[in-house]
């Protein structure tokens, strides 16, 4: 079955199911095993102001709060495609800002993609075509447990000669090294700025004389390797790039790939996609016409990657709808009132006004999630019978009630 959690989209897992208990077996990675694990019953009642209520009362309370809200933020957005479509429909009815919990990594990549574009590639292309894989920044395997097993298997279809995997400014951990046992792994440390190193690398490849000469040595041989590659894949975990220069690293990586493509082939593959953030962005684009971080308002829908980021938007929000169906993630600190459509184990710092425990896509019900490369979306199946409602069910029920109340 399909794993819906990190965005790598592994779909070769097997699980043991006994009643409501679920256990993911190898080759599931550690993260997947933890997130799939379900003990016995997960009966959890909706709460309004901390008191258990019938689902219908919780839905009615949420609809009342939204109808009375002058500024609503739909945050978290951890849901499958059907849940996201229903949440967007709710936002279309009552208005509000939409942003995903994993947006910081996504927008680090989009800041370049929206402004200048890029040449990208996908998982199967890297698997089969990339003779050189450049990993920028931190080893992604702690987040994407099977990253190199999936991206750099031992027998590619078209890449010739030994495969080279180069870590620039990061060190492969034990898991990565084990998955790359068949490949030639090189580590190129970066003392200062990762973005500067990439700019220098691009200059070397373009045949320009670098302004700074300091760290040129190791980069010169890296430039030669990349220049000789038939198909270079440039990958990075966007969310794990250094906070202060993450956007610049992405932009420099894109420029590097552009330069490589003048003579050979190359593509960029940002790793991201936790809790269907890619699906959320796709749904926004086809339903609203803007990416995430958009305010849906009658006649004046607008997109602003800074002002409509969760943290910033929360300052001007009365009611936050926090959705996190895949894992127990607490909502961000917030002064207003909260409606939580969330994993039943979500730890709240302060109890939300409305808490509706929801089912997990791919465990409790079927649906769709998108993979990190944005091209492939995967079908999820229910693994067990669950009494928990889906995000789509709840969002539709709230919309039906809010529709009558909204202006």
């Amino acid at each position: 079955m399909v794993c819906p959690f990190c965005g790598l989209g592994c779909d070769d897992l097997t699980v043991e199911i006994e009643g409501e208990a679920v256990t993911a077996l190898p080759p599931a990675c550690g993260n997947a095993a933890r997130l799939f694990a379900r003990g016995g019953s997960t009966e959890a009642a909706p709460l309004v102001n901390g008191a258990p209520v019938e689902l219908a009362s919780a839905v009615a309370a949420a609809a009342r709060m939204l109808a009375g809200s002058r500024a609503t933020l739909f945050a978290g957005l951890g849901a499958d495609v059907a849940g996201l479509r229903a949440l967007v429909a709710l936002a279309e009815t009552v208005g509000g800002v939409l942003d995903h919990d994993a947006s910081p990594g996504l927008f680090r990549a989009l800041s370049t993609a929206q402004r200048r574009g890029w040449i990208a590639t996908t998982i199967a292309e890297v698997r089969n075509r990339a003779d050189v894989v450049l990993v920028i920044g931190a080893d992604p395997t702690p987040t994407f447990g099977r990253a190199f097993e999936r991206l750099v298997p031992p027998r590619p279809a078209y890449a010739q000669g030994p495969r080279r995997v180069i870590f620039l400014g990061g060190e492969p951990g034990e898991t990565a090294r084990a998955q790359l046992a068949h490949a030639e792994v090189t580590v190129v440390p970066v003392a200062g700025s990762l973005a500067d190193a990439l700019v220098l690398l691009e200059a070397l490849l373009a045949g320009r004389r670098p302004v700074a000469d300091g760290a040129v040595g190791a980069l010169r041989s890296l430039a030669e390797i990349l220049g000789r590659a038939r198909y270079a894949a440039v990958i990075f975990e966007a969310a794990a790039l250094p906070e202060e220069e993450g956007d610049l690293v992405v932009e420099a990586a894109v420029a590097l790939v552009d330069t490589l493509n003048l003579k050979t082939r190359a593509g960029i593959l940002p790793l991201g996609g936790r809790d269907d953030v890619i699906g959320a962005n796709q749904v926004m684009l086809w339903r609203i016409g803007f990416p995430l971080r958009t305010a849906v308002r009658a006649g004046g829908t607008g997109h602003d990657p800074a002002a409509f980021a969760t943290g910033q938007a929360a300052h001007d929000t009365e009611v936050m709808v926090w959705t996190s169906a895949f894992r127990p993630v607490p909502p961000p600190a917030f002064a207003g009132r909260t409606i939580a459509l969330a994993h039943w184990q979500t730890p709240f710092a302060s109890p939300p006004e409305v808490f509706i425990p929801v089912a997990t896509p791919g465990i409790d019900h079927g649906g769709h999630v998108f993979r990190t490369d944005t091209v492939v979306s995967l079908p999820l199946k229910a693994l067990r019978r669950s009494s928990l409602p889906s995000v789509a069910d709840i969002a539709r029920a709230i919309t039906a009630q809010a529709h009558g109340r909204a202006r």
């Binding site: 890029w118 990208a120 050979t264 082939r265 086809w286 979306s377």
Partner: protein, 548 residues
Amino acid sequence: MKLRLKGGRVVDPANSGTSLVRDIVVHDGRIVPEEAADGTEDTYNVDGHVVMAGGIDLHSHIAGGKVNLARMLMHEDRRAHPEPPGPLCGCGGGHAVPTAHATGCRYAEMGYTAVFEPAVVATNARQMHLEMSDIPLLDTGGYLVLGNDDLLLEMLAEGAGRQAIRDYVGWMLEATQCMAIKVVNPGGINAFKFNGRRLDLDEAGPHYALTPRRILTALIGAVTDLGLAHPIHLHGCNLGVPGNVETTLDTIGAAEGLPLHLTHVQFHAYGTEGERRFSSGAARIAEAVNANPNISIDVGQVMFGQTVTASADLMSQYRNRGIADPKRWIGMDIECDSACGVVPFRYRDKSFVNALQWAIGLELFLLVEDPWRIFLTTDHPNGAPFSTYPHLIRLLMDKAFRDAEMEKLHPAVRAHTNLASIRREYTLEEIAIITRAAPARIHGLSDRGHLGPGAVADIVVYPDNGDREAMFSRARWLFKAGRPVVRDGEVIDLVEGQTIVARPGFDRHIEGRIVRHFDERIGLKAAHFRIADEEIRDGAGPLIAGRG
């Protein structure tokens, strides 16, 4: 629901060569003979109006990954075209690449009821179907892109038999829930992944040593053997390259008399004559189309203004990246399957090249004689957004208007086109053929595109306005399966469309090889690649063509 449209001028070329004033009677979503009327029908007096079947667009990029990438790049366009007020069109905005919702509404306002997405990358087909669930008012369908997929090329290079290719194509069509096969720059997209920068019809590509001609003829054979209604829908080699008229003529020859549809031919009709080394090849192509009844084309007309080009043909889009306007573009190699390239572009009437492209498109429309083998398209959004269709229709129907528009263009263009000397004006009957009757016929959709008994009651009523642009911009009425959904150019009701698929039979033994390919190469299970019926249109499932 029963209704009678009373007293309109019925333009229904699939059933009658001439237009007659007569009533149309609808029972339960289908047209019935007038004698079947029982007097309980809601009557719409449409005296002085023109009645046609709902429009069918056989080539318009309305859904899928590349369309969403275009939306991401075109945020200024979205901002400049906000959603209209009111509950029904609440979240439809954008012009060059409208939202799913706006796509359905804007098409319906012009009287269209079916639109087909012509470039479905197999590994992205599920996204297209998810998006189509959010397109109201239109029936939809997709054409699966094959001809650069590594598994097919590997099979051809190994000398796989005709039957194996047929079975592979049948399996892929079923798995992706598509209705036809599209071929984009056969072998060229794949060659670009091996760093090939161009590939001509008879040039062997890298790695597999296959020529585009070989790939194309194999796929023509497969759709013939599968008995698909729509022939191969071909975006040929060398898109946009001056001199590509020769390639296009060679490609017509490569069909060897079998049915072949050449798409957005305007982009493939360029010569190299004149001091600017860019000239019209439209007359030569029209002559070849006229002489070869197995060939059909759609035009891909260029209209002036801001748009965005989105194509699976990354080899060509990489070549075009320098002319991006605004200066940004996205390319992507996709899953040992296909690719995409998205390049924003503004066609300018004062540009010689753009103005000549405009003239070449119109020459094609006016010089191809048989309206059943030419279709009205702008290759939305590549030549222009679909919302320019009414303007295009006026250009075809109104010689004086056409001449006046030509006056606005780059002056050198008039010396490079014989457009001014072409006197032809399309009749309403011919417009009805190229915008509904012929697209239905070439897809074998026998109950669409016409107004005879048994047809689905997708019916549009236009005011009979001498200004044909105004007339075709805003339908007086549009009925979708017998329900009124547009009145005076405004959407008054939202109904769900259906997604049409083709389901030819094939030998399922091919599945073993496909499963191995997915397991070993793609790293995705074939079972998860395959799209189930329940995934179509929120569980409604597809409408299987030819099975009612």
